[in-house]
Every structure is written in structure tokens, then in C-alpha cells.
Amino acid sequence: MDFIVANLPYLLTGISVGGQYALIAIGYTMVYGILRLINFAHGDLFMIAGFIMVYASASLPLYISLPLVIILTVVLGVLIERVAYKPLRSAPRMSVMISAIGVSYLLQNFAWYVTGGLAKIYPEIPWISDSVQIGPVSTSRITIITPILTIVLIIALVVLIKRTKIGMAMRAVSRDFETSQLMGININRVISTTFIIGSFLAAIGSILYFSRYTTVTPTIGAMPGLKAFVAAVFGGIGSIPGAVIGAFIIGICENIIKALGYTTFSDAFTFALLIVILIFKPTGLFGEKESEKV
């Protein structure tokens, strides 16, 4: 019991971090599901969302800067797709992948250019950063909000995909571009919708993440981005529930490892996990067998 109480903060943090990874991981897994593309720029979009908040909140009140961060991140996400991926729709997959890596570097270098490479302090968002008491443990309110908000958003997303017309179109397009077009589906619109959702969730994830970690740097998207990516692979890339479960497992394990005193190895764990999955179950927990598009 004492052990649990002593380690409860780590567990709570793990759940919370897991939720943040989940919000990012969904963007990877949905884009992969539709375009069979690993969107390497996704972690950097998350970073840019952080900087947008830094600059927006400097001159605007929160009730404007928060929605603005979300809107601008979504616009940027859709713009990246239009400019860097859409022209390559019928190109080999490797070309699109390389284009994604290019966008990733472009965003990082743009951030270097604008910030001069200096870490920026993320604004404190009142209320969600306040500390609260859970039993014997004191933690910030964000630790509690993150998993709840994550679950609510994921339920909404699942309902959208399973129960609405656009969701049905997304499932159809993810299976077969050409036949979807024959149904009268505008595949570009469906792909844009996917990027809107992924970017929206990444923006929310960034607000929650940086409220806890407080500084934004041009390369800060890399680590959470990579972990979210591993979560998506672990869950079976293309599967939303898989990505979410993967993200929570990684978030929790990482923090348990920290609790056990092996903080240095907490990042290594994620990558060891990636190697183990790729060796033993490349399709991940819920991944379908690679159904190559015809």
C-alpha cells in the first residue's frame, strides 16, 4: 500500500502523458490508414502549435489565443498535405515519405529562424495548471484533465468514424481510393478531413503537454512525436484503438520505470519496445495484415 501511495504520482503522470501521446498518435495512425504515409512532420506540427501559443498569448487573452492555436495548427496541417503530399498522390510511396521528412526539417528550421534557437517559456494557463489533492497525493489539475479529455475526444472520434457519412467515406477511402471515387466520394476532401482531425488533436495534445513541460524548443516535437509513433506501431498502425492503448502503455511504463529509479532508461524503453514489436509482431496489437492497395 505504501508502495502504491509513494508511486501514485508516477502512475498518474504516466496516465496523463499517455493521453498526450495518444492525441498525437491518432494523427499518425489516421494518416497512415488513409495515405499509407508516415507523416514525419506530425511531431513538428505539434512543436509549431507550442510556439503559436507562446507568441499568441504574448499579446492576446487566453480565450482568443487558445482557439487561435487550434485553428492555425489545423490550417497548417491541411496546408502541409496540400502542398507537400497531394501533388505526389500517384508518386511512389517513398517520394511522399521523403517529402514528409523535408517538411519536418522545414518546420524545425523555420522555428529556429523565428526563435533564434532559444527555448521559449510556455504561458501558464490558469485553472488547469492549479494543483489539486487526490487522497494523499498532490498533483496538477492537468494530470486529471488530460486522460478524461483524451477519452472524451476519442469517443467522439470513434462515433464520427463509425456513425457518420464522412466517417464511412474515410473508412472506404482507407481501403480503396479508386472504388471510393467511383462512389462519387471526393477523396481529396476526405484526406483533408483526416488532416484536420489529426492536427486538431495534435493542437490539443500540445496545449496539455507544454502546460506541463513549460518550455518549447524547435526540436521538442521529436521525442513525443517518436513516442506517439511507436505507440501507433505498437497498437497496429492504422488502428485508432491500437494507437490509444499503445500510447497509454508507453506513458505508464515510462513513468513506472522512472519511479523505479531508472529514469535514464525511460526513453530507451520505448525504442526497445519498438524493436521487439517489429521483430515479433510487425502488425502490432490490432493491425491488419498489410492490405496493399490495388
Binding site: 457519412k165 464511412m168 467515406a169 473508412r171 472506404a172 482507407s174 481501403r175 480503396d176 479508386e178 472504388t179 471515387q181 467511383l182 462512389m183 462519387g184 466520394i185 471526393n186 490495388v294
Partner: protein, 238 residues
Amino acid sequence: MSLIEVRDMKVRYGGIEALKGVSFDVEEGSIVTLIGANGAGKSTTLKTIAGLVKPVEGTITYNGEDITGLEPQKLVSKGIVLVPEGRRVFGNLSVYENLRIGAYLIKDKAQIEAQLEHVYDLFPRLKERSWQLAGTLSGGEQQMLAVGRALMAQPKVIMMDEPSLGLAPIIVRGIFDIIKKINEEGTTVLLIEQNANAALRVAHHGYVMETGNVTMEGTGQALLNDTRVREAYLGKAK
């Protein structure tokens, strides 16, 4: 004026010229078939009409209107629908969802419901299986679903690419009965078949394609009786 008029259509895949100037007509209310060996360019012809492939030359008119190179969704909304080769049902969607997605561009709920009833009447099997994932259906059921899904768009012209391919003879007969029935209800049919015999029997008019060209045409009956057609496509030397 015919409902669809294809004139001198040329299509290229990279360096390969798949269609070298194809011309043919589809009369409103008729069943027209394109027959020919593998690789003759039949599928390419249908894909080009459906807007999936852009021709480098030539025109396609529909009801007198030039529709060359329009996007597939435009053509679907005009009533030109393709049942693709190999059925291509969405295996990850239920039978019901596959049918609903066939009516993707139709806004009127009542119209969709009525059409759904109609498709279920044509294919009672689909109604029994409406909640099953389409990927778990048998080949014949998937073909019914592919045709039913196309009908959900309320097409004026339905194009079918080898609907009988790989199906048991008894199911093939059922498919041809359905084709006749759809046509009797007023839908124009443009049919591709390897099974030239069955296709020419139901067709009012037929065209023979060879390596990217139309080489012969005639009524279904005339082609059935033609010696060259019999030798090349019906496997009956005479």
C-alpha cells in the same frame, strides 16, 4: 444521337498506348457489350468513360454533352456508374454501409430508402446479410453487392467490368438474369465480358476489341453467328 458516343479515344499508360483510337456508340435503353481478349483495352475503355483515366485524345459525349476528362464524382452525379473489375466491395464496411455509400451523392433520405428496398428486392440475400462485413461474403454475393451498390446511385448507365469472372456457372446465370432485369427497368447497360457467348446473347449490340482498337461490330446475334468471332472468342471452330 446515341446516349454515349465515344470518338477516336486514345489512352496511354506511360509509353504504352492502351487505346489507339476507339469509337463506339451506346444507344439509350440498350445493352451493349465489348468483347475481346485479355489486354485488348476493355477495362481501360470503361475506366476512361468513368473518369478514372484521362484520354490523351478523343471525345466522349453523353446526351450530347462533352464529358471527356470529367472527375469521377461528376460522372456519378450525371448517372454514369461503373461496377469495377473484381467487384471491389469495401470489405471493412457492412453490406448495408456498402449500399449506403453507393448512394453517397444522393441527399434525399426517402429516395435512398426507396432505392435500398429496390436493391433488397433484386437481391434478397443482401438483405439477410445487411449487417455482415462485406469482406466475409462469398464471391457471388460480393458481385451482387457490387451491382447493388452501383444501383444505389440510381444510374442511367451502368457499366460492368467482367461481372461473371470467377463465379460458378449457376451464379453467372443469375448475374445475367439481373443484367436483363436492370435493363428492362430502363437502365442502359455497357458490359464487358470474357464470357463472350453469354454477353452476346443478352446484348442488343456488340463491339469486338483487339489490342486497343475496335475491329468489329454488330448486333449481338450477328456477332454470335460470325465465323471470325466464333473462332476467336467463342472457342468454336467451324
